[in-house]
Amino acid sequence: MAQKRMTFLQKLMSFSGIDPDRLRLRWVSSADASAFVDEISQFTEDLKKMGPNPLKAKEAA
C-alpha cells in the first residue's frame, strides 16, 4: 500500500512542480540499525545536493 501511495505521490509531486526525488521509500528492518543510518545519511546528502526546497522560499515570501 505504501509503495502504491509513494508511486502515486511522486508523480503528483512532479506534476505540481516539486522534484519527486525529494521523496524516497526504502524498506529497512528495525533490527538493521546500520542500514537505517546509512540510508538516512545518504538521503540527507542527496537532499543537500538538491538545494533548499523551493516551497521554503515561497513560505518566507
Binding site: 502504491k4 502515486f8 508523480k11 503528483l12 512532479s14
Partner: protein
Amino acid sequence: MSTTVKAYVEQLLDEGKIKGFLGLREENGHIMPHLFCSPEDLVHMSLGDNTRPGDARYPLNQLLITLAAKYPDDTFAVLVRGCDERGLKELFKWEQLREEKVIPVGIGCPDELAKACECEKPFPEALIEGPQGQKVDSEKVAHVDGMDLETRLEFWLGEFDRCIKCFGCRNVCPMCFCNECALQEESLVGTGKIPPDNPTFHLTRAVHMVGRCIDCGLCEEACPADIPLRTLYKKVADIVHEAFGYRTGYEPDKKSPFNIIGGL
C-alpha cells in the same frame, strides 16, 4: 428535447417502480434539484441547460445519498449524465447507495459541453435521450505537462494562492461523503490563514480524489477563484490509470487501488 426522458419517468412513476425521480426543476428562470413524485409535476422538469448546455448541473448523486439514507427501502430514479453514471458505479462500491434501489435516467451531453469538459465519455450506458458523444482529450493537462518543473511549481502556487478556503470544491463534490474530512484536520492542514497551506491543501484534496473523482467538473464551477482544479484531478486520474490500470467509474467489480491493502 426532454420528451423521451419525461415519458420514461412518467412510466416509472405510473408503474410504481420508483417512489420519486431526483432531477432538476425549472421555475421562474431558476434551475434547482427536485424530487418529482407525481407525473403532473414533470411539466417543470429541466435537464440542466440554462443559457448553455449543462451550465445548471448539480450534484444529484450527493442528494440521492441523503435521500436513500432516510428511505433505504425505496427505489428512486436519478438524472445522470456520463459523469454521474461513473459516480454511481463508484458509490455502489463504496456502499453509499444500493444498485437495486437506483434507476439511472441517462442523458448524453452535446459536443459543446463534452469539449468544455474535455470529457472521456460524455454519455451514460443507461442512455435514454441525447447523443453518444465522442471522447475529448485533455489539452489542459498536456499544457502543464509541457512545462518544466520550476514553471509548473510557479504555475500551481500562483493558482492556489487565490484560494479562499470556501470548501466549495469539496462541498459540491458528488463523491465526497466522508463524515470527517482530512482538509479540516488541524494536524494536516493549518487553520486560520488564507490562502490555506500552499500547496498542501490542494494536493491533499488531489490525493483524496484517487479512485473517487469522476470528472464532473462541479468543483471547478463552484470555485470562486477559478482555480483549474479539473486539470489537477484529471492528472490524478491519468496517474492512477498508468500506474495501477484503474479507471474511476468504469469497473463495477474492481475496487480503487487506495482502497485495497496490498497489490500493486
